[in-house]
Amino acid sequence: MHTLATRATARTQSPLRRTFEASTPTVARGANRPDRDVTTVGIDPTRLARALGWFSLSLGIAEVLAPRFVARLAGVRHVHPGLVRLCGMREIASGMMIFGQGKKPRAAMWSRVAGDAMDIGTLAAVASAGAPGTRKGTLAFAAANVLGVTALDVYCAQAFGHDRTESAPGRSIRMARSVVVNRSPEELYQFWHDFTNFPRFMLHLESVQRTGDRTSHWIARGPAGTRVEWDSEITVDTPNELIAWRSQEGADVDNSGIVAFEPRPGGRGTIVRVEIEYTPLGGAAGSLVAKLFNASPEQQVYDDLHRMKQVLETGEVTRSDAVPKGLGPVRQHAAQGESR
C-alpha cells in the first residue's frame, strides 16, 4: 500500500514536495487496526492493573515475611523458604513497577506474566517430583489460581498494547485512521475541500472560516472556555483524490493533515484515509493541547471520522440518550433523557 505521503509526493511538484516531506506524517503501520489505547466501559485495564499491582505487593510481602505459611497454602511443604522469599521479592518488584509506570504499565504487566510462568513451572516441578508433604488437591487449586491470574495479566498487558500515538511534550502527536463512506470520491472531495464543514464532525473545533483560496482560520475549544487559534493553508490539492493542509507561521499549535479518497471496487463506497499531526510547543498552548487531546488522540480521529460518515450518509451526527452530543468516548450518563 502506498502511504498517503508517498501518494501525495508522487503527485506533487518539487517545491511542494520538500515542504511536504518535512511536514507530513506517513501512515502508521497497521493504521486500520482498532485503537488499543482506550479503556472500555467494561473491564478497565488500568484499574485491573492497579488491582493486580496491589495483589503483587501483598502476595510479595506475605511471601517474604511468612514463606512457610504461603507455601503451605499453595500445597507445597518441603520447599526452601529462601526460594519463596525470592518469589516474594519478584512480586514486590512487579507491583512497584505497575505503580511506577503510570496509566499503562505495559512492561510491568508482561513482567507479571513472566512471573506467573515461573510460578506455574515451580508448581509443576513440585507436583511431578511428588515430594513428601505435597498435597495434590491443594496444589491443583493453587495452579488453577495462578492460571486464572495469568489470564488476567495477559489480558491486561495486551490491552495496553503498543502506543502508536505519542504525546510527550515537545514531540508531535500523530494519528492515522480510515473509514468507508457510502459516497463517491467526488462527493467526499467536495465535502472535505470545504473546511468550514469540519466543525460539523470534529467536535473540538469551534469554527473554521475561509480567508482565501487556499487559506482558512481555525478556532478550537480548549478547557474552561479557552481557545486555540491558527491559520491553515492547503499544501496539496489533487481533485477527488487527496487534500493536504498545514498550519502557517504563528500558529498556537503547529499542525498538519492529509485526507485521501480511494474508491472501493464494485461501487462499494470510498475509503477515506486521514492523517493528522500536532506539535505541542510546550508552555500554555502546549499544555492546552495536551488536555485537548487527552489520553488518546487516535480515538478522537476515529470518532471524528465516524461522525463524518454519519453526516454524509444520514445528514447529521447520530445521538443517543447516553451520548446526547454524539461524542463517543466522553463521560457517558445513563440511557435516559436529560432534564429540561
Binding site: 486464572g148 489470564a151 480515538q299 465516524h306 460518515k309 447529521e316 463517543g328 445513563a334 435516559q336
Partner: protein, 390 residues
C-alpha cells in the same frame, strides 16, 4: 414519565425520569401503548451483558402512538400507530443497503466500545447497554425513536396491540431462525428453547414447510405450548431424556436437518458440563455458557445447518470444532434484521397464517415491571411472555 430502569444485577425499578426529546432531525417520540419483556432482557437483568449503567432505561419490544416528529420525518404523522423494530438502522449505509439492518454502520454512537469487544461494531439497539449505543428503551411511557423514517411500521386500524407487538423482535427473530435453516420439503428441524423466540421459530418452520419439528425444553408448559399452539410434532424434556440419544432415535440415527439455538448465553443442562461452564463463568474465564450450541452441533446431521438466534455476548469454551468441520456443517446467525421481515410477517398476520399473541401468558402494568422481570427470569407461574402497558 415512568420508565423501567436497570439498577444492577436483578435490580429493576420503575423510576420517574425526564421525558425524552427530539435529538436528531429524523427522530420521533412515541407514546408507548404496549411493551414486552424479552428473553434477552433477562441477560441484562442477570448481569451478563457488559457496559450497563445505573439508570439505563430498558426495553426493545414496544409499540405506540407517534406524538412528535423531527423535521426530517416525512412518512409519519402525529397520531399514527406504529410498531418499532429493536435494531436502529439509518437506511443509508452499505449494511442497510444490503438489508443487514442490525449491522447499521451509523446508528451506534458507541461503536468504538463494541468494536473493541467484537472486532467490528453492530447497530445500535434500544435499551440494550452502552456498547449497543446507550439508547433509552421502550419499557416506559414515552420513547425517542431515531431514524423514524426508516424503522417504524404503521399498524392497520383495528388490529389489537398484542397481535402486532411482537413484530418488533421475537416473531421476526424466530422467523429468521427458521429461514436460515433453508428448509426443504420433508425436513426435520430441532429447536432448543421453547421461550417466545423458540415458539416463533417452531411456528415459522411450520409455515416454511418443515415436515417434522422437534421442540426441546425442560418446562412442561412450554413444551405443551410448542406442541399445541406453535406446531411442534415432537417434544423432548432434556431433564428426562438424553437429547442426543432422543434425536438420533427420532431420526433413525441421521440427526435433524437443521438445529436452531433459541437459548443463547444462559443455557442450562443436567450434569457436569453445566457445572463446568458455571464455574468458568464465575471466574470470568468465559462469558457465555454454550451448552446448547455444543449440543446443536453434535446433534445436527452431516452437512446440516446450525441456526443461532439465542444471544451470546462474548467468548465461549470447548467449541466442538472437529465435529463442525469434519461433518461439513454450516452455521448461520445474527441479531434479526427486523426491518426486512416486518411487512411480509404483518401480511401473514393479516391473512390469518398466525396470531402471535398465543405466547402471551401475563399482562401487567408498567409499574409492576420489576415483578414481571423476576417472574419471567424464575419461570414462575408458567410465565412465557410478559406484556406491560403503561
Amino acid at each position: 414519565m415512568k420508565a423501567t430502569c436497570w439498577h444492577g444485577k436483578r435490580d429493576m425499578r420503575v423510576d420517574d425520569v425526564p421525558d425524552p426529546k427530539i435529538l436528531n432531525r429524523r427522530d420521533a417520540i412515541v407514546r408507548v401503548t404496549s411493551t414486552a419483556i424479552c428473553g434477552s432482557d433477562l441477560h441484562l437483568y442477570n448481569g451478563f451483558i457488559p457496559t450497563m449503567m445505573k439508570g439505563d432505561i430498558l426495553g426493545h419490544e414496544f409499540m405506540g402512538e407517534v406524538v412528535e416528529t423531527g423535521p426530517d420525518v416525512g412518512n409519519l404523522h402525529v397520531g399514527d400507530r406504529v410498531v418499532v423494530p429493536f435494531p436502529i438502522a439509518c437506511g443509508a449505509c452499505l449494511a442497510c443497503e444490503a438489508q443487514m439492518f442490525s449491522l447499521c454502520e451509523n446508528s451506534n454512537p458507541n461503536a468504538w466500545i463494541a468494536e473493541k469487544l467484537m472486532g467490528h461494531p453492530p447497530a445500535g439497539v434500544f435499551g440494550y447497554s452502552h456498547m449497543m449505543g446507550g439508547f433509552a428503551g421502550g419499557q416506559a411511557e414515552y420513547v425517542r425513536v431515531p431514524f423514524a423514517d426508516v424503522g417504524p411500521l404503521k399498524v392497520p386500524d383495528g388490529m389489537p396491540d398484542e397481535k402486532v407487538l411482537f413484530l418488533s423482535d421475537i416473531f421476526p427473530t424466530g422467523y429468521m431462525a427458521a429461514e436460515m435453516c433453508g428448509i426443504k420439503p420433508g425436513d426435520t428441524i430441532a429447536v432448543w428453547g421453547c421461550g417466545p423466540v423458540g415458539q416463533f421459530a417452531i411456528a415459522s418452520a411450520k409455515m416454511l414447510g418443515a415436515e417434522r419439528i422437534i421442540a426441546i425444553d425442560r418446562f412442561a408448559e412450554r413444551l405443551a405450548m410448542a406442541a399445541d399452539k406453535a406446531g411442534a410434532t415432537d417434544t423432548i424434556d432434556y431433564q428426562a431424556q438424553d437429547v442426543l440419544d432422543a434425536l438420533k432415535d427420532m431420526t433413525g440415527g441421521v440427526g435433524p436437518d437443521a438445529c436452531i439455538d433459541a437459548v443463547g448465553t444462559e443455557a442450562h443442562a443436567p450434569g457436569a458440563l453445566y457445572a463446568y461452564d458455571r464455574f468458568k463463568q464465575a471466574l470470568m474465564l468465559e462469558s457465555d455458557r454454550p451448552l446448547v450450541l455444543r449440543q446443536a452441533i453434535m446433534a445436527c446431521r452431516n452437512g446440516g445447518t446450525v441456526s443461532v438466534v439465542g444471544v451470546y455476548g462474548g467468548f465461549i469454551d470447548k467449541f466442538p470444532m472437529g465435529s463442525f468441520m469434519n461433518r461439513s456443517l454450516t452455521m448461520k446467525t445474527g441479531q434479526c434484521h427486523v426491518h426486512r421481515y416486518m411487512k411480509p410477517l404483518l401480511a401473514r398476520i393479516e391473512n390469518g397464517d398466525i396470531d402471535p399473541s398465543f405466547v402471551v401468558t401475563h399482562r401487567m402494568k408498567l409499574d409492576e415491571a420489576a415483578e414481571g422481570y423476576a417472574m419471567f427470569s424464575n419461570k414462575q407461574d408458567d410465565c412465557v411472555k410478559v406484556v406491560l402497558t403503561p
